[in-house]
């Protein structure tokens, strides 16, 4: 099987200029992620894991170096195109769930769909995704603050999947959950991987990293 390169980082550096001196959060990181991979990123606190994930998620731009997504250099894209990439190609799952508090669970999942298709979901995709992550319709009518952490993370997973992204990025998806709920969420991600999704996940937890097929370890802004 020919492995297709989904993401390629070439010498990516990210420097935060601070009055007390520049902080090099990423130091010439080169990395390739192929389609269908499940990669865990580990490393001590402050080693640059989140910074790396933000680069991959096109939320941030490298200070120097290049990031290619499906062979296209993101340096040549404007904010509009990068935003489009986040909407259509990337699904983000955060430690803090990051659901929109004004919208119900259903509407949160439907939101990226509306942004992409400019019409409500008549295909039943939102319902079936919510069903898949175990959120039933009465629960889907609740707003995020009325849901438990585990329930919110399930909704967030459904939201990340709604536009059928090529890449799923998770920043400590189980960080705010108890171990039982965390395991359920991880099993869900593992299941997505089995179905062929590409997943990149930042974690502190070796047990969680065990679900991945490859582990990248970072230290002081470098991949070791």
């Amino acid at each position: 099987m020919v492995e297709k390169r989904l993401i390629e980082l070439v010498e990516v550096t990210r420097v935060y200029p601070l009055p007390s001196g520049d902080v090099v959060a990423l130091d010439r990181v080169s990395l390739t992620i192929h389609e269908g991979e499940f990669v865990a990123i580990m490393g001590p606190s402050g080693s640059g894991k989140s910074t790396l994930l933000n680069q991959l998620g096109c939320l941030d731009r490298p200070t120097s170096g290049d990031l290619f997504i499906r062979g296209k250099n993101t340096r040549e894209m404007n904010d509009r195109e990068l935003t489009g990439l986040r909407l259509n190609t990337i699904g983000y799952i955060f430690q803090r769930f990051n659901l929109i508090p004004l919208l119900t669970a259903y509407e949160n999942v439907e939101y990226p769909y509306l942004m992409k298709h400019r019409e409500p979901d008549y295909t039943g995709r939102v319902d079936s995704l919510l069903g898949m992550v175990g959120i039933d319709p009465p629960m889907a009518a609740h707003k995020p603050p009325e849901l438990s952490g585990g329930q919110q993370q399930r909704v967030a997973i459904a939201r990340a999947l709604v536009n059928d992204p090529a890449l799923i990025l998770c920043d400590e998806p189980t960080g705010n959950l108890d171990s039982v709920t965390g395991r359920q969420i991880m099993e869900m991600l593992a299941e997505l991987h089995r179905k062929g999704r590409t997943i990149l996940m930042v974690t502190h937890d070796a047990e969680v990293a065990g679900f991945a097929e490859r582990t990248i370890v970072m230290k002081d802004g470098r991949v070791i």
């Binding site: 941030d60 986040r86 990051n98 919208l103 509407e107 939101y111 990226p112 939201r159």
Partner: protein, 402 residues
Amino acid sequence: MRDVILSLSLRSIRIHFLRSVLAALGIVIGVVAISSMGMMGANMTLSVTEELSSMANNLVVRAYTGGAGFGGGPGGSGASGGGDEFITESEFREITKIAEKYGLVYGVQSESDRIEVGDRKGRATVYGLDDKVIPSIFSLSEGTFPKSTSSVVIGPTLASRYSLKTGSRIDIGDPDKGGTTTVRVVGILEERGMSMDVNSDSAIIANQKLFNGIYGREGEYNQVNVILSDINDTQKVKSAILEKMNRKEETVTIQDSSRMLESITSTLSTMTTFVMAIAGISLLVAATSIFNVMMMSVTERVREIGIMRSIGTQKSEIRKMFIYESVILGVIGATIGAILSLAIGWVVVLAMVGSTDYFFSPPSLVYIPSAMLVGIVICVISGVYPAWRASSLDPIEALRAE
């Protein structure tokens, strides 16, 4: 499609209901202030125009004083002598000859003089008019028209200022300069309002014999008035008189009410603009409060904006969300303001103009949609900067916010 951005704006307004109501209240007040001031001005103009046009059939002929005494070259024939400010008896007859077939022509003599009622002293204008003319241009609210050379009628303002009734006595003149004449009030006139022929409301109206008895000045008229039967004759009569009288040199000028009407309406419109500008300040205050609320809304929703941006919401959509919010506040505020304007405008017009006859006429009501539009536009403008701020937040920074 169902606009999720619009529904987010609506939900934000609903969640911060009190804050939104207060912001919209500013717009309500601004719209009410502007539209009721505008309506007041419009109603005032309309009713003054109506009042004045009822006497627009008036021509007032006065002696030409414009270039008198200055190096006017051909004008210096010496014929005008010392009677420059007056129309002479012969000029009066000439004017009568030209204008009498078009209406009523009469001469007006007037002096401003000292008066004394009991022990109260003051000043008033004394008019001298032909016996036969007085009843045809004035109406009485009580008493009779003067028949003798010692009786007068007076205007209602003068009557109430000095508590004069029919039968009261007035001493006209200065005891130190030529003595006084005592006259008896036999009638009080109805209020006539402002006019350019004879301002009778605070004046004493005497017949010519009495006037000449006090002041002399026989055959010297301050003005000659023509009341035209047909208003369409105005220009014809005006140019006929001017052509005859001013053939050799400028002897008379003619004022017709249309000019006065113009100058009054233009004064009123300046005044209206000024008052509306003051009312406009209230909209400026409203703009500040909308701006404030929008900035608060942005600050409060930084994290939400970060979430939206990170999952692929364009900057333009974020901007739209806040612009929608300010437009909704503006539309709600302006609509409530428009409804209240009908009631408050009515009260203001009633109080300031005294009549609401023209309240529902288009030139008056047009101020309501105009003020609404101004209010909404102000809201949109106040929302632009906060919206821009929101859209240019860095998604990562925004996500970090609590």
